[in-house]
């Protein structure tokens, strides 16, 4: 039962929830039960079948409807007299600006992607509203509190960037199944069914090495009057047979690698289309395009089964055929979607055929779907626990009880007897470019890289800005917005294609650029350093951004354990890309590290003032006290970097 002061703080509070998914449903319920009366909730998503095992406010009949709106209706049934304001919208919409944020006493995140988390973090900093952030994967979870000037902001610790693979690993020398998935999803699928105008490396190696470059251009187009079966087999033979043969000609590549085996339909499948024993009517009568299935047509039922090369080849040809027969209208504009059954089937089969060719173990559709869709493992219970912890932190924030703020980790196995481990929050990182205005340094080849590269790879991807404005001194180099004049738009478009040193106001070594996002009210300066060469494998972007030093611990005493995010099999599929399931979760700090630090005795324990965050000079910035135990206070070091690198991810 909450105390009187707590109750009045709760009653009078206006809170913003971002996300009505796995954590969001639990959070909205617990807030309502706890006595919160004015809750605003933003979520752009609609309800899907795979949400129903844990997003308990939703039912089968709600599939396709707005999460925020359905969640509101469901909660009003048991708490009819509170106010819930839903927004079926993207939190990055300009309507949700600093003024919008300022009306709230606290913001509670139950988000699924890094991009939105960073955006909300910046708006909270700009509007001075405290943020309670959360995340779960499988049985692991965490809740953190971010209050400007008092605790670190969400971005004080660097977040792992999505892993990118060198192009040639994907196009020519895959060694892991995930490489085959990326090839099937981002190259082949896009080439056949997506935007034809997009750059695509699918044929890079074959056109380089062969004389048939003009032929390669249209090899993926279905010729007029070409039989669909014929077309499918031609594509198959081209990508799994011919392209492999071409690649094999480059002896250098295979010196230290296993040579792949070219695969042709004539070797894998009977010459004539086989009579299927599956249910043909099912496939042909279905009218909903998302339920068209090659698997069902072929009589393959269990998504957990491992298909043979022959079965994969049949699924490949069937899926391709079904796209042309049942979903022709969408061809040319399809993007991979993990909830698109036929797309998953196509990508699974293509990845498996490629894997077979390269001697990589094959995977089931269920597994392939998880990798291709960056699906985050999720269970209802962790979300319920995390939502409870969010509400506890929110109550402290509302009472401005700074001393009691905690980051809490939910663990799979107990560590020092603890399953739920509270840790005192960190101070702001003084070198954080988001909350401390620290300049960044960018190494880049100013004679080769274009402004477009800078905007896409640094400003958008690394700095997470959505409406950037780039200035060199007083000269505007680039700007986005609805209110620009036509000549400005043309000007900026022209700038994008210029290399940095040839811009109207040339950017060279020593230049300081100012990059600003007006919506996020974030401004930072970047010192440009010219560099001639970059390592193709390690620095495929041809640029290196630094200066945003993580709060590092000089000394690190970790022990290996099967606890926590580092090695749990529940945390494999974490990847900070927006294309996730409803709760992507980032667990940055391995709690094991927190618990494995030095121990020292303190005479008084229950006095929290004793264990306030202490600062060590130099590199040893992040030093934290684990919440005092009865007779001990354990001091632990946090190493932001190692935590991240320890974490396993499915990478693309």
């Amino acid at each position: 039962m909450a105390s009187e002061e707590q109750l009045s703080a709760i009653k009078g509070a206006k809170v913003l929830m971002v996300g009505a998914g796995g954590i969001g449903c639990e959070l909205l319920k617990t807030l309502a039960l706890s006595g919160f009366e004015d809750i605003h909730i933003i979520d752009m998503d609609t309800i899907e079948v795979s949400n129903l095992n844990r997003q308990f406010l939703f039912r089968q009949k709600h599939v396709g409807q707005s999460k925020a709106k359905v969640a509101r209706e469901a909660v009003l049934k048991f708490r009819p007299h509170i106010r819930i304001t839903p927004y079926h919208a993207n939190v990055k919409d300009p309507d949700f600006n600093v003024d919008f944020f300022k009306q709230f006493n606290v913001v509670l995140n139950g988000l699924d992607n890094l991009d939105a988390r960073r955006h909300v973090n910046r708006l909270c900093l700009a509007s001075g509203v405290p943020l309670v952030e959360s995340g779960t994967t499988g049985f692991l979870g965490q809740v953190t509190v971010h209050v400007k000037g008092k605790t670190e902001c969400y971005e004080c610790q660097p977040k792992p960037a999505p892993k990118t693979y060198p192009v040639c690993t994907i196009t020519s020398t895959p060694s892991k199944f995930v490489h085959c998935i990326v090839w099937a999803k981002d190259l082949l699928f896009t080439k056949l069914f997506g935007d034809k105008n997009q750059d695509n490396d699918l044929n890079v190696r074959s056109t380089d090495a062969s004389s048939s470059s003009e032929h390669a251009e249209d090899v993926f187009e279905r010729r007029a009057d070409e039989d669909i079966e014929q077309y499918g087999r031609r594509i198959y033979d081209h990508v799994f047979g011919y392209n492999i043969e071409v690649a094999l000609r480059n002896e250098e590549t295979w010196k230290n690698r296993n040579r792949p085996r070219p695969l042709y339909t004539k070797d894998v499948l009977p010459p004539q289309p086989v009579e299927q024993n599956g249910n043909k009517d099912k496939a042909s009568k279905t009218c909903d395009p998302t339920s068209v299935s090659a698997m069902a047509y072929l009589g393959l039922k269990n998504p957990q089964d491992l298909w043979s090369l022959k079965e994969n080849s049949e699924v490949f040809l069937e899926a391709l055929k079904l796209f042309f027969l049942k979903r022709e209208k969408e061809i040319g504009q399809l993007g991979f979607d993990k909830d698109d059954q036929l797309a998953v089937e196509f990508v699974t089969s293509a990845a498996n055929i490629r894997a077979a060719s390269f001697g990589i173990p094959l995977h089931s559709l269920f597994e392939a779907k998880g990798i291709a869709g960056n699906i985050v493992h999720a269970v209802a219970t962790t979300n319920a626990i995390i939502a409870g912890l969010i509400v506890l932190e929110a109550m402290k924030v509302l009472q401005n009880d700074v001393k009691s703020y905690r980051m809490t980790y939910c663990l799979e196995h107990s560590s020092r007897k603890m399953l739920l481990m509270p840790v005192e929050p960190f101070e702001p990182n003084k070198s954080c470019y988001v909350c401390s205005e620290t300049p960044l340094t960018l190494e880049i080849n100013t004679h080769r890289s274009k402004l477009r590269d800078f905007v896409e790879k640094v400003v958008k991807a690394k700095l997470g800005m959505s409406l950037p404005l780039i200035m060199h001194g007083v000269a505007l180099l680039y700007e986005v917005g609805d209110d620009l004049e036509e000549d400005e738009v043309a000007n900026y478009a022209a700038n994008l294609d210029k290399v940095l040193s040839e811009l109207p106001s040339p950017v060279t070594g020593g230049t300081i650029l100012t990059v600003e996002d007006l919506q996020q009210e974030l401004k930072c300066s970047i010192n440009i350093k010219h560099r001639e060469e970059f390592d193709e494998e390690k620095e495929p972007d041809e640029m290196v951004l630094s200066g945003w030093t993580p709060a590092l611990a000089a000394e690190k005493k970790t022990k290996t354990s099967d606890n926590g995010p580092s090695s749990s099999n529940a945390s494999q599929a974490v990847q900070p890309e927006p294309e996730d399931d409803d709760e992507l979760e980032i667990i940055l700090k391995d709690p094991e590290i927190l618990s494995a630090g030095n121990k020292r005795k303190l005479s008084d324990i229950s006095n929290t003032a004793d264990s306030e965050v202490s600062r060590v000079t130099g590199e040893m910035q992040a030093k934290s006290h684990v919440e005092a135990d009865d007779t001990h206070t354990d001091t632990a070091m946090l190493d932001g970097n190692s935590d991240i690198s320890k974490k396993k991810r499915v990478q693309q």
């Binding site: 039962m1 049985f139 269970v379 962790t382 626990i385 409870g388 399953l419 739920l420």
Partner: protein, 323 residues
């Protein structure tokens, strides 16, 4: 079930996709064939029921004949606060209606009667028994009944008071598998019954035992002496509770300071529940029950404590040294 029943249906695979990615198809299959009994439908158990049904258990049987009163609903999101709906129905009946709607693939039913009167055979059909809001005597006797059956039944008792919660786990002799460094290893553990656990002399417990354990035992004892139901205590009872603490601490030869006044005071004033704590403790409980049923992962042995004041969720092993 025949061979066909072994496979998960297409619908099950679609709905449980994300959790199958956590615990695997085998565990899901075992889970969907298991039967769970709960008694005492206050906030924590309601949280438990929600998650157990969502995750696709075989069946859930609810027991709570109480009629709805305001304080019973303070952390209940299954029952609308509308007299037209709640009139004349027991808490179990009302919760049952809502829970059925959560997941049509799960069979949810009500078992009327007093928990203390169910006989040994009654519990035979369940894989896990979860009880709450009952007296010390009932706790002991239900636990003992579960232990009399030839088939192992996982027993749990859960109680939240104010911002604190406690889960007691009795898995008897239990073997399970867990993954360690990519390998699956077989493990064994032996749990004491509730009666055995609380009989362990306080002095023989580890020095750093959570104070909450002792405080819960004092309140539990107090409720026996006063013949009142769990949660029916109030702040006015403090002087008598402090007297009882003195007696117990003297008998157990531990210092009274192990059980602070402020903690007892908090636990006494527990008429209304604290919903975030119900969510947290209920969530941990579900995780444990799923582990026990699937035989996968380290279960907690044998008491879990949560206190919102320090935010710690702690596992203590309170077993008889000789067992």
């Amino acid at each position: 079930m025949g061979k066909e029943g072994e496979e998960l249906t297409e619908q099950e695979t679609a709905i449980y996709d994300r959790q199958i990615r956590v615990w695997g198809v085998d565990a899901q299959r075992r889970y969907s064939k298991s039967h769970i009994f709960v008694s005492g439908l206050k906030g924590t158990v309601v949280e438990f029921c929600k998650n157990i049904v969502l995750a696709g258990v075989g069946s859930l049987t609810l027991n709570d004949d109480r009629f709805v009163a305001e304080e019973l609903l303070s952390a209940n999101f299954l029952v609308p606060p509308d007299e037209n709906i709640t009139r004349g129905k027991s808490l179990a009946e009302l919760c049952c209606e809502s829970l059925k709607d959560f997941n049509p693939m799960v069979s949810v039913s009500v078992e009327k009667g007093d928990l203390a009167n169910f006989d040994v055979e009654f519990f035979q059909k369940f894989d896990a028994v979860v009880i709450s809001c009952c007296s010390l005597l009932t706790k002991k006797s239900v636990n003992a009944k579960c232990r009399k059956l030839p088939r192992r039944i996982a027993f749990y008792h859960v109680e939240c008071r104010d911002s604190c919660g406690e889960i007691f786990v009795d898995l008897q002799n239990y073997s399970y598998s867990k993954k360690k460094n990519e390998e699956t290893i077989e493990c064994q553990l032996h749990c004491p019954s509730f009666e055995e656990a609380i009989a362990v002399p306080w002095r023989s417990l580890p020095k750093r035992m959570t104070k909450l354990y002792f405080a819960m035992r004092v309140i539990e004892r107090f409720e026996v002496l006063e013949r009142c139901n769990p949660g029916d205590t109030c702040a006015d009872d403090l002087p008598n509770v402090l007297k009882l603490r003195k007696e117990l601490c003297e008998a157990q030869c531990i210092n009274e300071s192990q059980i602070p006044d402020s903690l007892l005071e908090r636990l006494l004033a527990s008429e209304h529940e604290f919903p975030p704590v119900c969510a947290i403790v209920g969530g941990v409980l579900v995780q444990e029950v799923i582990k026990a049923i699937s035989g996968k992962g380290d279960p907690l042995k044998n008491i879990f404590f949560f206190d919102a004041t320090d935010g710690k969720g702690i596992i203590e092993d309170i077993s008889n040294v000789n067992s």
